[in-house]
Amino acid sequence: MSSPRNRKAVVFIHIFLAVQILAPLSYYTIRADRNDERFAWRMFSSVRMLRCQVEFRTGPEAKPVGNLQGIFHQVWVRLAQRGRMEVIQAMAQELCEREGAEREEKAPEVRVQIACLKIDGEREERGGSWNACRLGSL
């Protein structure tokens, strides 16, 4: 059936199908962040109901960053409250840069504490002690 005319189409179909089957599958197999449901077609799932408290603390005295919506657009804050690690990590990095600019020669310190409440009542806590500026990744 694959005439020279549709050989390109055959290649396209297979690449498309591979991506569309493997990308959602990666959520169940290799994706580290289970709160990140992008590309997984998990519509109306329980993860959507997750509510997290995310606290950023800066400096050696671990001063809490009070008004996050004064630094980040509120959509980013809402995504962080859904426990999206990639976003939380990027926010921590942004705070590191700001902290670094403020403290000049001293190494910046940003610590993140994440406490999530799942729909079944289970609590999940992450972060706290490590410096996100030094680790780069949470």
Binding site: M1, S2, N6, A9, V10, F12, I13, F16, L17, Q20, I21, P24, Y28, E37, R38, F39, A40, W41, R42, M43, F44, S45, S46, M49, Q69, G70, I71, F72, H73, Q74, V75, W76, L79, R84, E86, V87, A90, M91, E94, I119, D120
Partner: protein
């Protein structure tokens, strides 16, 4: 021995055929929705580029794509509306589709600010639509083969399959998640009557069945009402913020309507449609029509696009004018590049159609009742975000834009007053607060700030009058802590000037 032979497997894609009438109906409905979606997304443009912080959907792509910026995203949404209408009306479809897919893809992938999964789905469908043979075959047959349409159906099947898989967990199957997602109403009543766990299981099984139907191409007559029912329940029962997702799904179910229905319609109304089309073609294929239509369409189109109450409207007018000229030029390009027509009369038909659709699309965008509302919401969100982020210059710009559309929006006057006060332009601030008071006599904020300014300037009568109004408004409602403090302060001002 393989279960499915290679030929049968490839035939699944390459022997798939459908009626042209069905494709045409799907195109009109789906791309009209794309256009409407473009208008409805305008307010969301306000969030892009705020405080120069962004996280892309894919890290490797983020490094390549230009950083998102509010004005650029706004233009993309406007172009989405314009191109959507152009494709729906069948003009310059190939070039419009590729451009639309690229712009839509950029807007989605550039930032996680867009967290709607169906936007990703629509990007995939647009990509596949680029390969659908929307044009008539030279032999003018009623049916056409299309592996891309098959792949669209497969894609929907994959979405349903994974959606069902995601629900194979105890908190879904026992009804906990559904119980929290359903608001009070007929769907909740129905789910409670069935038992929340049974209803949740039924949703999962429905999705699994739809996956089977879309992937296998079987039981489509059953899948049609079942799928439409599921999405109607989500749209009107669950009341979730899913924008036009259900409507896009309704449009996709057009592809499940049996071909025989379209063939029947083709037999009964196809002839009269053909006569009508021939009459229109004869009317517009005349040289004077093209000569007259070109300047009228381009000028009126420019004026319509530029009439949008946005700073970006002139750039939008320039871009769509260029696209219209390109569409006309495509009519004269040879087959393969211009996808089209080959003789003088045919070229004139295509060129005139492109010009008329250009004008019609811009008229629809400019005069659609929601456009002004959504542009207003865009300014409102932009202003609020900029203010929260401490960017008062931008906030001022946005509030001024908002006031052009909603002159009685007291918050805009109020915050322009706050901005003026921050810049120590006290007289200007007072002017804004007075406008806020006139715009909404029950909004205490303008009165409160005016009372403070008059009090500080020792204008007792004015200070007392404004403070009395604050007391009058706030003592009639439940107040926040800040409002309680303002009430105390206003009472103090009234008392102070009463003693004088």
């Amino acid at each position: 021995m393989s279960l499915v032979s290679k030929d049968r497997y490839l035939d699944y894609f390459f022997e798939f055929s459908t009626t042209r009438a069905k494709l045409a109906l799907f195109r009109v409905v789906f791309f009209s929705l794309i256009a409407l979606d473009g208008i409805r997304r305008l307010p969301r443009a306000a969030r892009y580029g705020a405080s120069d912080f962004n996280v892309g959907q894919l890290a490797w792509l983020e490094a390549i794509l230009p950083a998102p910026e509010r004005s650029a995203i706004l233009l993309i949404f406007l172009l989405q509306a314009y191109l959507g209408l152009r494709i729906a009306m069948g003009v310059a479809m190939r070039s419009s589709l590729w451009l639309l897919t690229a712009l839509y893809g950029y807007a989605y992938f550039v930032s996680q600010l867009d967290s709607f999964q169906h936007h990703y789905l629509i990007f995939l469908l647009l990509l596949l639509a680029c390969f659908v043979p929307w044009y008539r075959d030279p032999d003018d047959s009623a049916r056409t083969r299309s592996w891309a349409v098959r792949l669209i159906l497969v894609q929907i099947g994959i979405v349903y399959a994974y959606a069902a898989l995601a629900k194979c967990e105890s908190v879904w199957l026992d009804g906990t998640v559904l119980g929290q997602q359903l608001p009070t109403g007929w769907t909740r009543d129905m789910a409670e009557w069935l038992g929340m766990g049974s209803a949740a299981t039924a949703v999962m099984l429905t999705e699994a069945f739809l996956a089977f139907a879309f992937l296998s191409g079987r039981l489509l007559l059953v899948a049609l009402p079942v799928g439409l029912g599921l999405h109607a329940g989500i749209q009107w029962g669950a009341k979730l913020d899913i924008e036009l997702f259900s409507y896009f799904m309704f449009a996709l179910y057009i592809l499940l309507i049996p071909d025989s229905w379209f063939e029947w319609m083709g037999r009964h109304i196809g002839r009269s449609m053909g006569t009508f089309r021939t009459a229109v073609v004869r009317a517009v294929a005349r040289r004077p029509v093209v000569v007259i239509a070109t300047p009228i369409s381009l000028t009126a189109g420019w004026l319509l696009a530029d009439s949008l109450p946005l700073a970006e409207s002139t750039l939008f007018a320039a871009l769509v004018s260029a696209l219209a000229i390109l569409a006309v030029a495509l009519a004269w390009l040879p087959r393969g590049i211009g996808a089209g027509p080959r003789q003088g009369a045919d070229r004139r038909v295509v060129a005139t159609a492109a010009l008329l659709v250009h004008l019609g699309s811009l008229a629809a965008i400019a005069w659609w009742p929601e456009t002004e509302e959504k542009v207003g919401d865009y300014y409102k969100l932009w202003a609020g975000n900029a203010r929260r982020l401490g960017n008062w210059d931008e906030a001022g710009q946005a509030y001024k834009g908002l006031l052009k559309l909603r002159p009685k929006w007291s918050s805009a006057h109020y915050y322009l007053g706050v901005k003026a006060q921050r810049e120590e332009r006290i007289d200007d601030a007072l002017g804004h607060y007075e406008r806020a008071q006139r715009a909404n006599h029950n909004d205490h904020r303008g009165f409160f700030q005016a009372a403070q300014i008059h009090h500080a300037a020792k204008r007792g009568q004015e200070a007392r009058a404004a403070a009395e109004r604050v007391v009058d408004i706030l003592q009639r409602k439940r107040n926040s802590r800040a409002e309680q403090q303002q009430l105390q302060r206003a009472r103090g001002i009234v008392e102070y000037w009463s003693r004088k």
